[in-house]
């Protein structure tokens, strides 16, 4: 049976990818940010997942306004890093896991989550920046990745509660998978940021800190945060944080088992326009 060993939460700011790709990681502006992921890279090498389910959002790259899937799962064998207008990031091709991805798709649809199944898609910084933060700059990524894209570009994005339930359904889907696989689920995006209008640049350190506390200790309470609170307190783009609830919903304690262990917690302002938050939660097993 496949099982979730850990969940990882991180922002996916594009400028972080650009800083890494252009060799600026040691500059004073970026150094404190990358220092916060030093532990994480080491942890990744020890955790050795077989597959990562990576919850992220596409930023007008693979999906234009022609079609706007709320939840989409990538079932392809591989995914190319996208050209987002500045040229593709010089990072490895993302290998998928078509067998597990199609299993999850089938299981989730039968659990009333009507996913869009995507057999061809490029992946943007939303997916590749978290991989870079957690794995550094390897020649190949350490394991296959299942891209799980959530619409957070056009309002309304899925409700927090729905995302949290989706995470629980993903966990059940893994229970039904025959092969023994060590799976991590990552929730990405956030934390507080607003990229538009005269309110651009909004950062709410206190709210972010409370969100991290809630996500760790009382995920049910985090799940019922309404959209308007994200927008007002965390900025119009801070609403990406609903994606963290998918990863959190997949953890064992939500299904009545032991609380996860907090292996790492990090917070830093700013990365470009954004507050960066990062957590690693491990299931006890």
């Amino acid at each position: 049976m496949a099982y979730i060993s850990a969940s990882v939460y991180t922002s996916h700011v594009p400028a972080i990818g650009a800083a890494l790709d252009q060799g600026k990681a040691e500059e004073p502006y970026w150094q404190p940010l990358f220092a916060g992921y030093k532990f994480s890279k080491q942890w990744m090498q020890e955790a050795k997942p077989d597959v990562i389910i990576l919850v992220y959002n596409d930023h007008a790259t693979a999906f234009s306004l022609q079609m706007i899937p709320t939840f989409a799962i990538g079932t392809a064998a591989e995914f190319q890093p996208a050209d987002e207008g500045w040229g593709p990031r010089p990072v490895p091709i993302v290998q998928g896991h078509p067998e597990l991805a199609s299993h999850i798709a089938q299981s989730l649809i039968l659990q009333d989550f009507d996913l869009t199944i995507v057999n061809e898609m490029d992946v943007d910084h939303g997916l590749t920046v978290p991989l870079s933060l957690m794995c550094g700059q390897p020649k190949t990524w350490p394991c296959p990745v299942i891209p799980f894209a959530v619409n957070v570009v056009q309002y309304p994005v899925p409700r927090g509660q729905r995302c949290f339930q989706l995470g629980q359904a993903i966990r059940r889907a893994l229970d039904e998978y025959d092969e023994d696989l060590n799976v991590q689920i990552w929730g990405t995006g956030g934390m507080t940021h607003q990229l538009q209008g005269p309110r651009a640049g909004l950062i709410n350190r206190q709210w972010d800190s409370q969100f991290l506390d809630k996500l760790i200790n009382d995920p049910e309470a985090a799940a019922v945060i309404p959209h308007i609170e994200y927008v007002r307190e965390a900025g119009s783009e801070g609403i990406e944080l609903v994606m963290w609830l998918i990863a959190r919903g997949a953890m064992s304690d939500v299904a009545g088992e032991a609380k996860p262990k907090v292996r790492h917690r990090f917070y830093h302002v700013p990365a470009s326009n954004t507050a960066v938050g990062h957590l690693i939660l491990e299931n006890s097993r």
């Binding site: 207008g85 570009v153 056009q154 990229l195 538009q196 640049g201 470009s272």
Partner: protein, 141 residues
């Protein structure tokens, strides 16, 4: 009965909801076309002619030509799509975000390094924070 839109009372913020998306469809799809290098070249060679290939409103075209991102957003633009114009112009995301505040690039960058814009006074229209309409444009430039 109309849908509840509780987000209309947040200062300096436009939520890209289904109504904005409908208004901005062709504007945003024009932006999307700039993902292709050959389209970026054609646009740069003659912006007006390239825009005229799209069924956008005249106001949307003027907003693009003026590179006024707040105006683009009022007419239905979304920042992730508008960012393709910035990429075509060689601008970073921070330069684009800052341009909507009235602050200079240096002032905006400095605000972010100091911890970003405070939410205090910027949650509801009618408060006195720096994102409120009566305090625009921001900055000294």
């Amino acid at each position: 009965m109309a849908l509840d839109k509780p987000y209309l009372d947040i200062p300096g913020t436009t939520i890209f909801d289904t109504e904005q998306s409908r208004k901005g469809y062709h504007l945003n799809q024009f932006c999307m076309s700039l993902m292709k290098a050959e389209n970026r070249e054609r646009f740069k060679a003659n912006e007006r002619a390239y825009l005229d290939e799209w069924p956008m409103t005249e106001e949307q075209k003027q907003a693009v030509l003026a590179r006024d991102l707040n105006w683009c957003i009022r007419t239905g633009g979304n920042i992730y799509f508008l960012a393709k114009i910035g990429a075509t112009d060689g601008k970073s995301f921070q330069q684009m975000a800052g341009s909507m505040t009235g602050m200079s690039e240096e002032e905006y960058r400095e605000m972010m390094i100091k911890g970003g814009r405070s939410p205090e006074g910027n949650r509801y229209l009618g408060e006195d924070g720096d994102a409120q309409p009566h305090r625009q444009p921001q900055g000294n430039s």
